[in-house]
Amino acid sequence: MSQPPKDPAPHSTGPPDRQTLRLLERHLSSDSLVAETAFDPDSYEPRLLRGLLDAGRYPDTVTAARLDIRWFTTGDFSVHYVEEHEDGERWECRWDRHPNTHNTRLHFHKPPTATEITDLELPSLHPLEVYSTVLTAIEQRIETLWSSQ
């Protein structure tokens, strides 16, 4: 049997998805892990959504943690998680969806440096489902940090 024809890979990208960024901001701002949210450059022109995580939830070795979310009208996205550590090191990873020449459209940049990339599968690509997966993964990361104290 022949393979179904593939969608022609888009060679460009769409603008930021304003409505999805607003929807995610509404949920982030009421999440128990999140201390503060902000749009970049501002709420009238949302292009990047920042979530500052509550440092009080982390052991003292972590001085700050944040989530940077970009969502595109093409359904592509980039969710970047960054921890700043007391010793000056960063611990970061990224959930990404966009065409590229070496991985599946949906892929994951592994911690601690986000340079190694692996294919990823998620049960749903709906923004709220992706959001839930990411926040749950971060919650488990915080538990791991505490148990390794």
């Binding site: 595109f72 749903s124 993964a137």
Partner: protein, 175 residues
């Protein structure tokens, strides 16, 4: 240290965003993230409610113009109503910002557009090849830049609409 799991599967995973919302709130939030015609049965699954409840709330959201319905398709499909939500955005800008601020922003955005056109040596962002690069970082940088450029072009139109609304005292058509 246990390895980090980017896609943990627990019952909580799917439901984290749902805490503290009722059925209508969940259906509303799900449809705001739906950008192509989607069966109400699928929306029901995402909103964790019965198909009948989802359909009832989706029809109400369609009456409110927040959702677009295609009731002729079997099963009926729904998606967010992009045009209405854009108008809402423009209306909010017109209400909250003085007209001078709106005009200033259009000028600032037009200057940004000119910078992008010089950087990529074209006036058409869709003509820029974003993804066909070996370096992942390059793809990422270009994706962000071209997307923001497209965002600038769209925001210029949005502020133009806001300016019109502002000049007509909130109406699209002058009295």
């Amino acid at each position: 240290m246990t390895e980090f799991d980017p896609a943990p599967t627990s019952d909580d995973t799917q439901r984290r965003w749902q805490t503290g919302t009722d059925t209508f709130g969940r259906v509303y939030d799900v449809v705001l993230g739906v950008t192509s015609p989607t069966a109400y049965t699928e929306i029901a699954e995402l909103a964790d409610c019965s198909p009948n409840a989802a359909k009832k709330h989706l029809d109400r959201l369609a009456e409110m113009s927040i959702a677009r319905a295609d009731r002729d398709s079997r099963p009926a499909t729904y998606e967010r109503n992009e045009g209405y939500l854009e108008w809402q955005d423009a209306s909010r800008i017109a209400t909250e910002l003085p007209i001078e601020a709106i005009i200033d922003r259009v000028e600032a955005l037009e200057a940004q557009r000119t910078e992008y056109e010089a950087q990529f040596e074209t006036t058409d962002p869709t003509a820029v090849n974003v993804f066909d690069h070996d370096s992942h970082e390059t793809i990422h940088e270009r994706m962000t830049a071209v997307s923001e450029w497209q965002g600038v072009i769209r925001d210029i139109r949005l502020y133009e609409l806001a300016r019109q609304l502002s000049q007509n005292d909130g109406h699209l058509i002058p009295a």
